[in-house]
Amino acid sequence: MSDVILQMSNITKRFSGVTVLNKVNFNLKKGEVHVLIGENGAGKSTLMKILTGIHQKDEGQILLVNKNGELEETELKNPVMALERGISMVFQEFNLMENMNIAENICIGYEPVKGAVLDRKKMIETAREQMKRVNMEEVSPTAIVETLTTAQKQCVEIAKCLSHDARIIILDEPTSSLSEKEVTTLFSLIRSLKASGVSIVYISHRMEEIFEIGDRITVFRDGEMIDTVSVAKTSENELVKMIIGREFVSDHLSEKVVKHEEVRLEGRHISVGKFGKELDFQVHKGEILGVFGLVGAGRTELARMIFGIDPIGDGILYKDGEPVRIANPRDAIRLGIGMIPEDRKNLGLITKLNVRDNLTLAALKRMSVILKSRAQESSLTEEYIDRLGIATSGQQQIIERLSGGNQQKVVISKWLALDLDVIILDEPTRGVDVGAKAEIYAIMRQLADEGKSIIMISSDLPEVLRVSHRILVMHDGEIKLNRPAGTLDQEQIMHAAIS
């Protein structure tokens, strides 16, 4: 194969004795989009960190194409060596100096100089040139990065890669915080990069995208490379099977017809965000209400008002028929309302504390007046580790060391331990692997069966359709659609969300 530009063979990596990559093989062809897929902790990020020189391999060989077009063994001892060999990575949470402008960011570390003085003119020129390649001509190179949208920041990152003459660009979950439209723009950019001979390694959890943009797919599971397949020759079911190592049963809940009559939570005249419009909503007992909408539709803002994070203004909330005032999360919790935020790391967890401390944090108030009881906390924690199948080495495991799915289960447990009536989940399965996703759905369903009300905010259309009893579609702070899930299909929902 003459068009292979990178060959990683038998790569093995251990962290303090634990093998995280076991004899992994991976190759990349010129101008292809190669998708890496696998559950969290399957080894894809570790392999990419070896490729970018952040981690060092313990065993194996990396061959990279040289100027004469021949494969040659290379050592990638640090990120600078990787950069110089044309390998760049765009991280999920970016590596940009928010306070500096685009040109300064693109040229960082390689600033052009005239003598000892920065050559600003040259810098802006370089930036402009690279920005053109990522279709950012309309933005000034002197714009401060802070003021850019997420999609624009991503383009700046890609431009930065290109300024290093990148031949290989690794994109880590590039669409996780982009809107539908921005994704389309990103994909056309990826296609034009492909055409210019750049190879893309694309890490993603989203099936639709993989089939849209990918050429080949490599599946990882438990530190091993399972297989590399061509996108044209595989199917979603086959991939899911490879990822989780077992048959994936997809069951649709919407077929089950349940009557939800008792209103649990009701909102009237609620004005969300800066749209200046009012909306009314109802959640019933035992119901899973899916709230769909594109980024910026006002879904999270609505949830934050219900949970008392942001003031609700002139809106009125009724809980079990009674009007209630919720000024802060404490009030919400007292009324039996909990919220699992999308931003797990910053809002959901205290990463310095262990599993038990995090899990019992909200329940502590109910468990004790002043004194806390270690025994009671331990038994509660044990109960939820068991019930939700949290994979942890113990109650005292520091949260940072858990995988995304398990962290999410801890946050969910925190609220379950309080026995609330209404639970709001904001993007509950973002950054969570396939197996844990199914488990989270099962928990939500079980809670609904117990008579609790679930509000699930999600941008994942199949997920909304699969899990919800009823679906609300929001757009610009308004409810555009409010119907039982069984009566809707993807097209109708998407139509409501964009118009």
């Binding site: 949970f307 994070i309 802060n328 999360p329 404490r330 919400a332 919790i333 919220m339 935020p341 910053n346 809002l347 959901g348 967890l349 205290i350 990463t351 310095k352 504390l353 262990n354 401390d357 944090l361 909200a362 502590l364 108030k365 004790s368 002043i370 004194l371 806390k372 080495s393 113990g394 005292q396 495991q397 520091i398 060391r401 925190k414």
Partner: protein
Amino acid sequence: MNLSKNKEMIRQGTLVAVLLLEIILFSCFSPNFFTFSNLINVLRQISVTGISAVGMFMIILLGDIDLSVGAVYAFVGVMCAYIFRATQNTIVVFLSAVAIGTCIGVISGFITAKGKIPAFITTLAVTSVCRGTAYILTGGTPIGISNPKFTVFGSGYVFSKVPIPVIIMIVVLAAGFFLIGYTRFGRYVYACGGNGQASRWSGINVDRIRILVFTISGFLCGISGLILAGRLGGGLPGAGDSAEMDVITTVVLGGTSMSGGKGKLWGVILGVFVVGVLNNGLTMMNVSSYWQQVVKGVIILMAVLFDIRASRTA
């Protein structure tokens, strides 16, 4: 988890080793160091810092800092001297000290929490006000009081052997352990310091926790200030100059993370002893107090470097 626990053990082990090394060295160089009376003396010397360190520990756990400790000592000392002159009553003086300290704590905490002002700024301002007021009230001259009913807090004894400040310190430490380790409040302090946003999302009243912590710290500084005044024999407007640095040193030395959420009271107590013994030993060896400052500065840098290195290897 094992890693971080080991790290904690190594850290505490290092502190114990340093403490032992100090004791051995000073015993060799100064014959009067390892005597019963001097060791009791060490305990008495560390009591002022030790008591305040419990409050500072909680403040630093929150990710805040309190720079007003020394100025509060001076203000409390001066006020108590006046109050004692007027009342000649030990109990009234004690209650006043505690009340004044607590009030200052409430004010600092309230402004910091509700005004969303960094504690660094709030307490810097409080420092200026307290120190300034102490000088205005006294006109710059010490209010000397030699009446043992006042000095008892600094130099009194129980059973003619154990100094009263040491007893107070032991009580405060015990209460600190209880509060931090066994109450809901203690857990909330770690939680708020670890991630204030997530704590709020978990239904914790973060502002109230912050105000409470500053209140407790102010309360303890009131006690420390009175002990210091007792030892100095009156209210001195210049008392406790840069005392906060001693307190911060011990807390940081004890392994409390300046970014909040991480630390153990055991470590802080070890830190108090390491610094206290060092001060005492250097004094016994006739090393000037200027040099002592230099040594303390070097130690605090080493402790922080150790902390950063340790967290990197984790």
